[in-house]
């Protein structure tokens, strides 16, 4: 075992570096400098702050905030130190354990992968499910108001009182079938040719005229409204915001730093990650919306017929895509709705008896 080593001593008061000879003793290091004579550093007074990685010199510090420092360029010094003083234990890094560290790093990589998948599949949805019920309705209303002022600006809204009354009647019928909710629900018809409908948090259902035009009966529209009402009642937007934050935090933890070009890559990853969450929200709105229709004794065949119509139109008219593309696979979706509708008990009651639907929707 080699006991004598060359290094440098820094006194912590000046920037001068003093060449030093170090001798490994059982109880400590004996350090000899040309000017300062000899001193003994006991092992238990020392801490090692560098030299745990390949290529680093060994750095030992002694003392409080502004310590004296000993630098030894040769990392083999550490191995001799452990041999000279076996009792020092993990206070000093042992280069012989570096291969074990590599193995642990590989295990950790597997752990990161497993943890990421678990957090994404279960952790974030669970967090969102726990937090969402505690978000005040007033916040959702604020968020919804600003979304509606953008999505359905007052000058584009259909102001026809007869159509408005019909919309309100459909909605009231659906809501009466369920438990009371803290929301004041409103429906707007917006004069745009898009085949789409959406729900803003806090109680706003927006129907674009393009979608209204394609409905053949009030039952078809009732199915769409029930779906959108479920988005509001199940607080899907709030949940999406929480999941969005969760995914962002997860990605931040994975990459460490979120700066520069990496930020754009992360944005894509986050958008992809949210697809799964939004698909699940749509499925839930489908299932619960169908239950709502059945409870309100609305004929579920209307909604199914409407989806089938849109699916057929898809090839001919790309506009119809808007409503379906942000949602689960249309074929799968229709099949699920059909199986849910099969459990219907009792005869349906017409939604707007005696109304001429095709004339009604032309009023805007």
């Amino acid at each position: 075992m080699r006991t004598d080593w060359q290094g440098s001593y820094l006194d912590g008061r000046t920037a001068a570096r003093h060449p030093a000879t170090i001798r490994l003793m059982r109880e400590g290091l004996e350090i000899t400098t040309e000017a300062g004579g000899t001193r003994l550093w006991r092992y238990r007074e020392l801490r090692q702050t560098q030299g745990s990685y390949a290529g680093e010199e060994v750095r030992l510090e002694r003392g409080g905030e502004l310590p004296e420092t000993l630098l030894v360029p040769d990392a083999a010094f550490l191995q001799s130190l452990h041999e000279a003083a076996p009792h020092v234990g993990p206070r000093f890094h042992d280069p012989r354990r570096r291969s074990a560290r590599l193995r642990w790093t590989i295990v950790a990589a597997g752990g990161v992968l497993a943890a990421t998948i678990a957090i994404y599949l279960w952790g974030i949805p669970l967090l969102a499910a726990l937090v969402t019920p505690h978000v005040p309705v007033a916040w959702e209303e604020t968020l919804g108001r600003s979304a509606v002022s953008y999505l359905a600006p007052p000058e584009r809204r259909c102001g026809d009182p007869v159509l408005g009354a019909a919309m309100d009647a459909i909605m009231a019928r659906l809501l009466a079938a369920g438990p009371p909710s803290p929301y004041t629900m409103r429906v707007y018809v917006v004069n745009r040719p898009v085949v789409n409908a959406l729900a803003a948090p806090g109680g706003h259902v927006v129907i674009f005229h393009g979608l209204l035009e394609r409905t053949g009966t009030p039952e078809e529209l009732a199915g769409v409204i029930a779906h959108e009402l479920q988005h509001i009642l199940r607080r899907h937007t709030t949940r999406a915001v929480i999941q969005d934050v969760g995914t962002g935090l997860l990605l931040m933890a994975l990459t460490g730093d979120v700066t520069g070009p990496l930020a754009y890559g992360l944005e894509t990853a986050r958008a992809l990650g949210e697809l799964r969450y939004s698909r699940r929200a749509e499925e839930e709105a489908d299932v619960e919306g169908m239950k709502m229709l059945l409870a309100a004794r609305v004929d579920p065949a209307g909604l199914i017929a409407f989806f089938e119509k849109l699916q057929k139109e898809e090839g001919a008219q790309p506009k119809a895509l808007t409503y379906l593309s942000s949602h689960p696979l249309p074929g799968e979706r229709i099949a699920r709705l059909k199986s849910l509708a099969a459990v219907r008990t009792g005869a349906p009651e017409p939604v707007l008896p005696g109304e001429d639907w095709s004339a009604l929707i032309k009023r805007c």
Binding site: L10, T14, A15, I119, T255, A269
Partner: protein, 317 residues
Amino acid sequence: MPPSGTLRRPTFHGAGGTLFGIHVVNTLLTLVTLGFYYFWAKTRLRRYLFGQTEIEGDRFAYHGTGRELLLGTLKAVLVFGVPIYLLNIIRDVLDVPAPVKVGAGLLSASLLFVLFPVAMVGARRYRLGRASWRGIRFSFRGRVRDLVKIVLVGSILTGLTLGLYYPFLLVKRQAFMISNSYFGSERFDFAGRGRDLFWVYVQAILLTLPTLGLSWVWYLARKRRYFWDHTSFGPARFSCTITGRALLGLWAVNALLLVGTLGIAWPWVRVRNIHFAFRNLALLGPLDLARIQQEAQRVSTMGEGLSGFFDSGFDLA
């Protein structure tokens, strides 16, 4: 040309692979501790990066701890995060008279405005204060109030001149950051002038359209060069040789690496960035190390006033 032997370049010895290994372990611990390990992870990373950086045969050392970083962030959340959050609720959600809403909005905006200089000074004070070379600590002695003044006056003038004052603000801020930085008892100095950067800035604006925005890469390179070239330490001064073309090449390859590996290559990208910066940086002239004495700033856990409160180690990163 300076005589040989007086040109010093920093060297980085770190490897992307080691950095990646540190990052993997850090990530696992951060995930299983629900984020709490983040501050210790950051510290471990800095310790490694500082320890792998060498100039004049000696490496830097980082003395910060995860606990300090955690406490610093908690302070920031308490003094800025919570009040701004509450004020924003008053502004957006609560049913209160309009003047109260306006007042809350103004207060929140001004807190946010002050947060920036406080964070900048706090982070610099903390990071320099925890860095050493040859056992001598660096320190930052600038006061938050001075930077608030620079940023406040600078922002108003920038607004009044439709942005033309901005380079002057940048130079003033850089002067504040550099000339309050110390290594031991020796101060760094900054001799840049706003009007020099002004023309570079105007050029970048005028060339934005014809170059499809690429002129700003050249602007960034020139700004970095200008800042370093006017920074000195005692009789020695820094010299930077970064060019717009080299910077663009670096970024292009970095972007390819990151996109091609879905971000996994970032430790190697980080090493590339450091190598690039050091390759283009040198310290010219004599360095009288014997004159330099240890003069670390005592950092108390509690000071007077807001700035003192943060001086003890406030760092968001």
